[in-house]
Symmetry: C2
Amino acid sequence: MASRIKIKKLLQSPPNSETVTAKGWIRTKRVSKQTVFLTINDGSCQQDLQVVLSPAQLPENLLNQIGTGASVAITGFMVASMGEKQNVELHGQQMVVLGDAPKYPLQPKAHSLEFLRTLLHLRFRTRTFGAIFRIRHVISYAIHRFFHERGFIYLHTPIITAADAEGAGALFQVTSPNPTAQAAAGPSDPTEAFFKEIAHLTVSGQLAAEAAVMGLHSVYTFGPTFRAENSNTSRHLAEFWMVEPEVAFNDLDDTIALAEELVKALLDALLANCSEELKWLEQRTIRNINEPSPQLPLLERLTFVRETPFTRITYTEAIDILMDALPNKNGTFAYPIKSWGSDLQSEHERYLVEQHFQRPVIVTDYPKGLKAFYMRQNDDNKTVAAMDLLFPGVGEIIGGSQREERMDYLTAAMQRMHISLADLNWYLDTRRFGTIPHSGFGMGLERFMLFATGMENIRDVIPFPRTPGHIAC
Amino acid sequence: MASRIKIKKLLQSPPNSETVTAKGWIRTKRVSKQTVFLTINDGSCQQDLQVVLSPAQLPENLLNQIGTGASVAITGFMVASMGEKQNVELHGQQMVVLGDAPKYPLQPKAHSLEFLRTLLHLRFRTRTFGAIFRIRHVISYAIHRFFHERGFIYLHTPIITAADAEGAGALFQVTSPNPTAQAAAGPSDPTEAFFKEIAHLTVSGQLAAEAAVMGLHSVYTFGPTFRAENSNTSRHLAEFWMVEPEVAFNDLDDTIALAEELVKALLDALLANCSEELKWLEQRTIRNINEPSPQLPLLERLTFVRETPFTRITYTEAIDILMDALPNKNGTFAYPIKSWGSDLQSEHERYLVEQHFQRPVIVTDYPKGLKAFYMRQNDDNKTVAAMDLLFPGVGEIIGGSQREERMDYLTAAMQRMHISLADLNWYLDTRRFGTIPHSGFGMGLERFMLFATGMENIRDVIPFPRTPGHIAC
């Protein structure tokens, strides 16, 4: 048998007389008297390879084996295709079935996303999820390249961490089921015997990254973080991916510029490398009348955000706009904005982005009571040097700040917010010894993925979503 | 004040008359009557910037503040340096202390690695750990680039997983401390209330990656994995990083070629991008007579392995060599090799690599009783299509195999090894529906880091090592 060539490469070759072998999984089969048409995909690209065989080559038992999902190896010649969908097709001369697929649960039709969530291990084989996870790769690689090219160090912050340092809310606990250790500590002792203190899954690598920039200048983390919130919504995951850059000597303006530059670099990578995938996802949304979207078609939306400067306003300006807004006056907001100091809800963020400015908006300088202890207090004594980047459709995609580098301000904020100084004594060392201005932000990868793919449910943009009651496979 | 320029860039500039500002942390200070010499580092590169100031610019109180660890901003001109260590130096005209560092625990001398392990958050600021974590970044980025350029998809497999699917040993358990959930399940109920079944921290992303290649062809994972083994050695971590490629249609030969290609690409990246860091680490080892190394100097060792073809032998050939080996005959091996079927211990691997072949060795086709259930059984019915790559100094750096794609062989192996078919029913679907030959391997990042840096303790090549009793900061 001729040596196997990936379908991605075969589709780029001109017709020629060399014998080639393709291997892959059957998507569709169409049988007529003179011809058997197969489409096969091997995962090397979004597109399928059309295969044309003569029924004479296929005894009945073989023809029955090659249903959707079966794996085959086909040897033949690449010829120019009469069909509209492809330039070339494979005229098969010999076929071997590698693995059949009786009772294969995926049929050559559109399955509901809900149904596919019950088959996480098989949904990789569909066109939609092939496109989504190829896009996730392209974005992830573009994140690494973006930071590498700017001299950042990829910092591997730990998953297992000590007590709830940030007050970020519901934490998962890690215990060792070692029987000896367990017996010694007793089942109700919260101090885990393996680590000798309470161990959690991390909610953020930021504090560790702040320590690291004092020696490495510019670092980023990129990996999973965790929340034990019992939320069963289309926007929550117990395990989700964050990218968190942190830069020595950067102020709030620098971190805003970095955030906008990152987002636009990721859109560039997406638009340059994923045209087939985006075309498929855009058609899918248009096709699927059960999932209407009020927004622009996917490609237009991505291009629009790529080309548009983001608007920057302060929280105080945002409140002025919202107080004046029609939905605030006529009571359409579920949470009316009554005064300065109100937290911005999703409906308010969407109003600013989708109605008022009609473009991504960066809101800065929030009241200090609404934000985390480590954000730098502004000279007004009321606000902090925070920034949130709000996107159409998905809301907050990035949150960041200049960090409080002044020891006295920092410890005062910690005391006000009941954060233990003792637990974070190591962190306070970063201010005790050669403190410097520095800034950073966190971007939720799945939030960005929702925007990038036009998907509506966060469970559909991560390979194996973890949510209450769901950790199978 | 002139705009700040990174030290990396300043050191590459020729002397010139523009005013520049450098910011960074003081490493050393030397004061004479006419001159104050400072070395400062800002984390942008391994090298320090030499700063020359006139004592007239430094009133006594300022001179006292600028000890090791203090952060400063210095404005002046870059001039040609008289010193041997650098081409240019900064002649300062103005200095601002950003943050002083009284009682800074790091002095301008070599601290022991043990001492620095008690100050994980500060060791980033030392030359040695600056070099190590810059190297870790270069290797990590090279891993991403290697796979991206070959069409692999970066697959984000989950950290939280269901029951111990692989029989890989001690697992951490994940629980939710949510009081309501806890009360409902009862403290001794092993079924965690949040996920409705026992939740663990992952030991490998391989099984999920095998499912993914059936739709994405070539994938890799790169992230943390966990073992709850109560081992306090220089080779064990509770949380460590693995890279695990998996490729559809690859056989054992393909996976061996991919492993050798990867390792050599990483050495290329290291040798091309980390000369200053490697020079520092090599000098450090030579300097430090308390940590003698029997091996070649670091750079020679890396270059040797880069240039040398790896030797490939079967397990059976390895046993023949070891049975004949002098240490086996004179009783120097702690675990003498008595017969075919013995497991290879670290001492045997080191004999093969360091004494017999004197180069990296790939051992293939181990007895099936020594290897995991998912490895493909060879036609001899005794061995499996496994491969281990053994490195000088560190032993096994990569372990992989062709996977058992035949359903009947796979389920027989699972039953023999008491792996639950029910728990892995989703995994068996990969063989039920269009099964194909496929292969992959796992590389331990910290094992590779030990080789790449010449460090001896695995706790010194990961930013925040997690070991029994250690999760602080």
